[in-house]
Amino acid sequence: MASFLRRHRGWLIGQAVLWVAVVAVLRAAVVPAERCPPATPAAVARGIDAGAAWLVRGQAPDGRYMYGFHRDTGQEATGYNTTRHAGVMDALYRVGRTGSADAGLAWTRRNLVSRDDWSALAPPGEQANVGANALLVVALLHRRQATGDPRWDGLVRRLSRFIASQTEADGAVLQYWSAETGRSVPGRYGKFSTGEAFFALALMARTFPGEGWEVRAHRIVDYIATRRDRAEGNAYRPSDHWAAYGLEALQAADGLTPVEVDYARWLAGYFGWLVRYESQHAGRSLAFSESGASLGTVGEGTAALRRLAVADPSLADLRAPLAERSVCLGGILLDRQTIGAADPRERGAWFDGGYTQMDDEQHAIAALIGTREALR
């Protein structure tokens, strides 16, 4: 034995270094522990309420919401974004804060432009953004679902016709329409607006069967699933949570094609990996962005696909793992929410680098709604 050790001393040291290096690198960078903080139904409900309360407290008399807040300086952010406004309205309708969301709706109604058979949200000096209008459609349909009130059905159809008018023959969706020229802005496609348009039209198809909205919805998602990244020069295929929502809605409205099912499965894998990665790296140097918006969109996509997997037998094998990931992401979000701060501009919000923005709360709340459903 002693002679063996003497003869192979160098090799043994090399092997020891190799094994320790492999284990250390794997543990530190590739497979750290996956930590999912607890997410009980009561804690999730409290998180949703606190996040929604932050949005409502920040609402101005004109119906707009506080755009952002710097915790360290106590400064509120200037600027505004119509897509985020509509997204926040949607989150508030979904959690029953109808009064505040309706006040937000009043602001959008004062900023509509109408042409021919369509209308679009486009404040003075801004182009009409398909993404903002798609989320406005979604918000109004969720309002209808929550209240049973069909009051805005006419408006929602006009907004949807605007989205349809921006959709090209191959399923690509032009992001902007210019009030100045009275025409769609050619060659401009949004990173998120195509998925948002798909979601809006798929939800229209589910809410108003027989009106034909599913035709354009299928066309857009086929484009997203098969051609978008090459056509629009994306360096990689994004984890499109809006497309995940859209697939869920389209499945309920008209069923999914094999291409769409494959895309749903691909998205489920992507979101599942993102949740696992966040559970391994949250709060550490290798973490992705840890804003409420970034984490929330991962949770939204996961939750939407879990609901889709519950509804579609061909995806049944994804139900349990997606539910597990949805609950895990909810726990991560709750762990990062600011609770119990004295300053009401901090309380209930999700900060990243000392800053929070209205879409942090919007996406985090929507993700927690998904967690709440997965816990049932």
């Binding site: 492999v22 894998g269 994804l318």
Partner: protein, 189 residues
Amino acid sequence: MTFGLMLAGFLGATNAGRVALGLGLGRTIPPAAAPPTGALAGLRPAGLREWRADRRTLGVVLAAGAALILAGVLLADPLLDALDISPESFRIGAGIVLAAMGAATLVRPRPGGPAGALLVTPELACMAIAASADEGVGPALGAAAIALAVVAGLALLPRLAPAGRAAPFLAALQVVVGVALVVSGVRDV
């Protein structure tokens, strides 16, 4: 992880060609020196002694490899549970190790160190854990047994001079399987 991918992973991680090189097997026996008949045809008396010694070493190699595989396969679930790692995430880690070590073998196919430890490698340990965590003990051991049989078969054919030439091909296979495991780990929920 399909059985085919698992088998390919074990074939790469056990790399029969590398083992043959490490054992110094695959030597060409001059045909003129070979006795005409017999089970050990082709071996001169000195070669016969050497071949028997090689067989003993090969037994040690296979036993050590089998022990490592058995430990990895049987301990996979409790180990990953204790470390809070999901099988899907570990698959990514195993894939990176397989790809990196396979690339190293491509650069330097001839192993160093004592012959008995030829199969005591990080990539084989990772492959055993990942396969068992994904597919269970039975299929993982089945695939590993086939790979070990290939190692034994290639090493026991002393006339097979090109045995060592399989090393880079199996290393390349290991790299491909490593990349496939990473992709599969990322794409899985």
